[in-house]
């Protein structure tokens, strides 16, 4: 019985790793650019599909990871420079609709290129580690560790580098950053490319766990939404904490009572939002939309 829960906890950690990677872009995109970029899941999907293609073609998962991440970053670069720049500062509805449309177009492209059928991606390794009697796939543990490393890396970047400080300042007050003479647009682009790369990376890492389908982004979008709402839009720490909570809710909750894997995250979000409308670490004020 105990083994069951231990392995559930570890599974949950793996899920947290993925959730964090794919949500970070939505959270930062909101904090910095004040848009809700619904199309983040396109990069997630691209990352997964490229991994699938490369693993099938070359058998190398690492190559798949790299190319998946790169492809997602390139897609992010194109979308940001060609389209999103035109929607910054526009009203919420507009940006959401535009980014959602990009999402739909991305799904359409994937369907054209790869077809509708779901495709399996082989596990890079099947190593099992034993922990207090529970058998745990090393890969899931690795996904979690990678997620945490990314968090540490992002934090270092934001707190130690001057560009990172400019991003933090930009989240607080974009106009003032510009007023100092900083080209915030370029910082937006770099941030966005990193965020979409991370979403692609998340997709690549998740592909052996869930397989790839054109609609995989839709399923993930829901969880990504819940993650950022629960954590608080714009907060990276919040995104991490909420990814950790949700991973356990999905995995341990699902072990206790299967439907909780799906309903649980929603319930947690709902309850938190009732008491704290801006999520766990969300900031009040400045952001657009109505107050509170």
């Amino acid at each position: 019985m105990l083994e069951l829960y231990i392995s559930a906890v570890v599974f949950g950690l793996g899920i947290s790793g993925i959730l964090f990677l794919v949500s970070i872009g939505i959270s930062i995109g909101f904090g910095l650019m004040r848009i809700v970029n619904m199309e983040q899941m396109v990069y997630y999907t691209f990352g997964a599909y490229l991994t699938f293609a490369l693993v099938s073609a070359t058998g190398s998962f690492v190559l798949g990871l790299i190319c998946g991440t790169a492809a997602a970053a390139v897609a992010g670069f194109i979308v940001e420079t060609q389209l999103l720049r035109k929607v910054y500062g526009k009203e919420l509805m507009f940006t959401m609709v535009v980014t959602f449309s990009v999402f739909l177009i991305g799904i359409g492209i994937v369907q054209y290129v790869f077809g509708l059928a779901s495709k399996p991606v082989g596990m890079p390794f099947h190593t099992i580690v034993h922990m207090l009697g529970a058998k745990i796939p090393l890969y899931r543990l690795m996904v979690f560790v990678i997620g945490m490393l990314v968090y540490v890396f992002i934090n270092l970047m934001l707190n130690k580098t001057i560009a990172g400080k400019a991003i933090r300042a930009g989240i607080e007050n974009p106009d003032q950053v510009r007023g100092l003479g900083i080209n915030l647009g370029r910082i937006f682009t770099v941030t966005f490319v990193i965020a979409s790369g991370l979403a692609g990376f998340g997709g690549a890492l998740n592909s052996p766990l869930v397989g790839v389908t054109p609609y995989m982004g839709f399923d993930m979008l829901l969880f990504a939404f819940i993650t950022v709402i629960l954590g608080g839009l714009g907060s990276i720490k919040g995104t991490l904490v909420s990814a950790l909570i949700l991973g356990q809710v999905i995995s341990v909750g699902g072990t206790i009572y299967a439907p909780l894997a799906f309903v649980g995250p929603f319930m947690v979000m709902f309850i938190v939002i009732l008491f704290k409308p801006t999520g766990l670490y969300g900031v009040r004020g400045r952001a657009f939309g109505f107050e509170e």
Partner: protein, 254 residues
């Protein structure tokens, strides 16, 4: 209300050591705003505003709340786009430039809300200014604000109003701007703090041309070479006579 052309009042000698490049009041126009009209969506706020700023001047813009002063400054600084009209900075049309380029050209705008980056320390706030302008000469800018030197590791969010304003001024001086626009720098500050800032205005004005929005009329009388009065989106008066300024003659236009 005619402009005294070539009035040499307040001219200062350039300093020898080259550390301060003191500017002289001259006839050279550093900023020309011609028939500027600005609106927020359907709300028309500025109507054909024209003004000229001479190099080395200290000009104060006065006007009631909602007169459009901030809107004027924000447009000049590139944060808002005008519907029509031109903005010339050192003879160059900057009306279409994004705000960060305007700043890099040497026109800085200090916003009204006294917002400093709350999450960053004073040092980091200054670092950002240096990062943008590649000007790391902090001694020069901190000279006028000795108090800031003792606060380097304090978070922006924990500074008092006066300290914030000092930090903002120091930050804006990085990159040696030729023109600094300040939006109600003394708003909400205690009298003794205002007294400190007054000294800072004087010192800054030795290095840059200064345009200040001010509601504090006695202060205006003290620092201004020239005063523009704004009302309902228009410039309704310009007072250049020192005597008239001292007598607060512009008050009747408000």
């Amino acid at each position: 209300m005619t402009r005294k052309s070539g009035a040499a009042t307040g001219s200062l000698k350039p300093s020898e050591n080259g550390k301060h490049v003191m500017i002289e009041k001259s006839n050279e126009r550093i900023l020309e705003v011609k028939e500027l009209s600005v609106s927020y969506k359907t709300l028309h706020v500025l109507f054909d505003v024209s003004l000229e700023i001479q190099t080395g001047e200290v000009v104060v813009v006065v006007g009631r709340n909602g007169a459009g002063k901030t809107t004027l400054f924000r447009t000049v600084a590139g944060f808002l786009k005008q519907d029509s009209g031109t903005i010339l900075f050192k003879g160059e049309d900057i009306g279409h430039l994004p705000s960060y380029e305007v700043a890099l050209k040497g026109l800085k705008y200090i916003q009204q809300d006294k917002h400093v980056f709350a999450d960053l320390t004073v040092r980091e706030n200054l670092e950002l200014g240096s990062y943008a302008t590649k000007d790391y000469d902090w001694d020069r800018v901190l000279e006028h604000f000795p108090k800031l030197k003792t606060l380097m590791d304090r978070k922006g969010g924990n500074l008092s109003g006066g300290e914030r304003q000092m930090l903002l001024m120091a930050q804006s001086l990085l990159g040696k701007p030729e023109l600094v626009l300040m939006d109600e720098p003394t708003e909400g500050l205690a009298p003794h703090v205002i007294e400190d800032l007054k000294g800072a205005f004087k010192k800054i004005s030795e290095q840059s041309t200064l345009v200040i929005i001010e509601q504090n009329l006695p202060l205006t009388a003290e620092v201004a070479h020239r005063v523009y009065a704004m009302k309902e989106g228009k410039i309704v008066a310009e007072v250049a006579d020192k005597k008239e300024i001292q007598d607060l003659a512009f008050e009747k236009y408000l």
